[in-house]
Amino acid sequence: MIRAENIFKSFDDNEVLKGISMEFLPGKTNLIIGRSGAGKTVFLKILVGLIIPTSGKVYYDDIDFFSLNKKQIREIRMQVGMLFQGSALFDSMTVEENIRFPLDMFSNMSLAEKRDRVNWCLERVNLPGVNDKYPSEISGGMQKRVGIARAIVLSPKYLFCDEPNSGLDPRTALLIDELIQDITYEHNITTIINTHDMNSVMEIGDNIAFLHQGRLAWRGNKDQVLETENEELKSFIFASPFLQRLRTQALAAKSRS
């Protein structure tokens, strides 16, 4: 479990986060949603330790992350996998070398064992046989899947995903969402996804946190989103008239049943 406690973050005079506290549960897909500029990415980067908060604490299973020394932070980070918005695959390495990188750096496995592990990860993300391709030779959706394969290669306890669906078509986005959810359930991972993709919210939102103007404005799950009376959340999720009509129809159908 990851717990954030009263997180504040300012950049010069601009206060981006204004006292956010929440818990992220293991075995669940925890979503952070909100408009652009709501502070989602800053919050995610604070959770993962890439940005230091102005004040507040982050606990990994009751361990205060920002009080740890470098060695202890490295130990925690070896239990963390992260999928970046742009996949962040190393251009000069093949797909296999990208996925193998954490193993090369930190494990004592033989090359054959590492290759087995890489192949297992590639099969898990439905991408067998692309080992020798370079990131520039595969599509954006495939790059995301390679990013997921690299994130899970060390069997992480915590998985962070920053906008996993950005730039993908709806069908591929759904596949990525399902893949992340399946991996989360299979390995009981604490998964935190930063997104503003409404399909993700409605499909895999086990635990949703809505940030608005640097504050936690709403919490719930995908079923509760539909019935929410929070005006900010409604105007964010059901932004178009088409989605508003869908919501009305869905609520009517629900009340009839």
Binding site: R77, F84, A88
Partner: protein, 248 residues
């Protein structure tokens, strides 16, 4: 302004401290160091050879022109070209050129990695990124740049020969006599001291500029330019200080 300078100097020192710590996995660092040696060394041979041959040729022609109508023996051309190459042009000019070629490349590479979140990705994995990304570059440069400087000195001397002997300004025997005259071994030591110091400056300053890039392509361009400008200024400053220290 002064505080800004101190701030950047402090960050530079802290980055070096982080970079020169114990590697997590020696074999990964060794592979990366070899790759950097290839990029810096093999990738720079042509440009170093080209500038060196002209440095030697120009020095020889200019000196021959100055000797016209004087009582100074013409075989001094070989002597001057040799010492000029060893003491100054091979280490300094080569490193100034390498700051432009290799330094800007390093800053752009690291800056690009920062912008594409590659450095963040490595940090999340638990990699000491300053150590993994900077140390192999510095070690590779410390090995390869002195070799390039040696090559440069030889080629500059060859350039002086080509500019004066085939054109009939002096004979091959005269040029060779000049090369053998008044040889001081310490000058070679001085060349290597300069090569090591300049190699360290140009790699660490360039990596520093690239590692902390923020923003977009304009900032990346600025970092790359700053890498060259600051490296060149610091190399020239170090050149002066070393000249004072090593010749006093």
């Amino acid at each position: 302004m002064n505080f800004n300078l101190l701030y950047h100097f402090g960050r530079y020192i802290m980055l070096l401290r982080q970079a020169f710590s114990r590697p997590e996995n020696w074999s990964m660092y060794w592979k990366e160091t070899l790759r950097q040696m290839n990029d810096i060394g093999i990738g720079s041979i042509v440009i170093v050879a080209l500038i060196s041959v002209f440095m030697g040729a120009v020095a020889a022609v200019q000196f021959a022109y100055q000797l016209d109508g004087t009582l100074v023996p013409r075989w001094y051309i070989g002597y001057i070209v040799r010492d000029l190459a060893i003491i100054e042009s091979a280490p300094t000019i080569t490193c100034l050129v390498l700051a432009g070629k290799v330094g800007s490349n390093m800053a752009a590479e690291l800056g690009g990695m920062r912008q594409k979140e590659h450095i963040d990705a490595m940090e999340i994995m638990g990699v000491n990124t300053a150590n993994y990304l900077i140390t192999p570059k510095v070690v590779a440069a410390l090995v390869v740049i002195p070799l390039l400087v040696t090559l440069s000195a030889y080629i500059a001397i060859g350039g002086g020969y080509l500019a004066t002997v085939p054109t009939g300004q002096i004979t091959a025997e005269e040029y060779a006599r000049g090369l053998r005259a008044f040889f001081i071994e310490f000058n070679v030591t001085m060349m290597y001291v300069k090569a090591f110091v300049f190699a360290f400056i140009l790699t660490t300053v360039s990596c520093f500029q690239g590692y902390y890039v923020q923003g977009g392509s304009i900032e990346l361009g600025k970092a790359s330019t700053n890498a060259v400008v600051f490296s060149n200024i610091l190399i020239l400053l170090a050149d002066y200080l070393l000249a004072v220290l090593l010749t006093s």
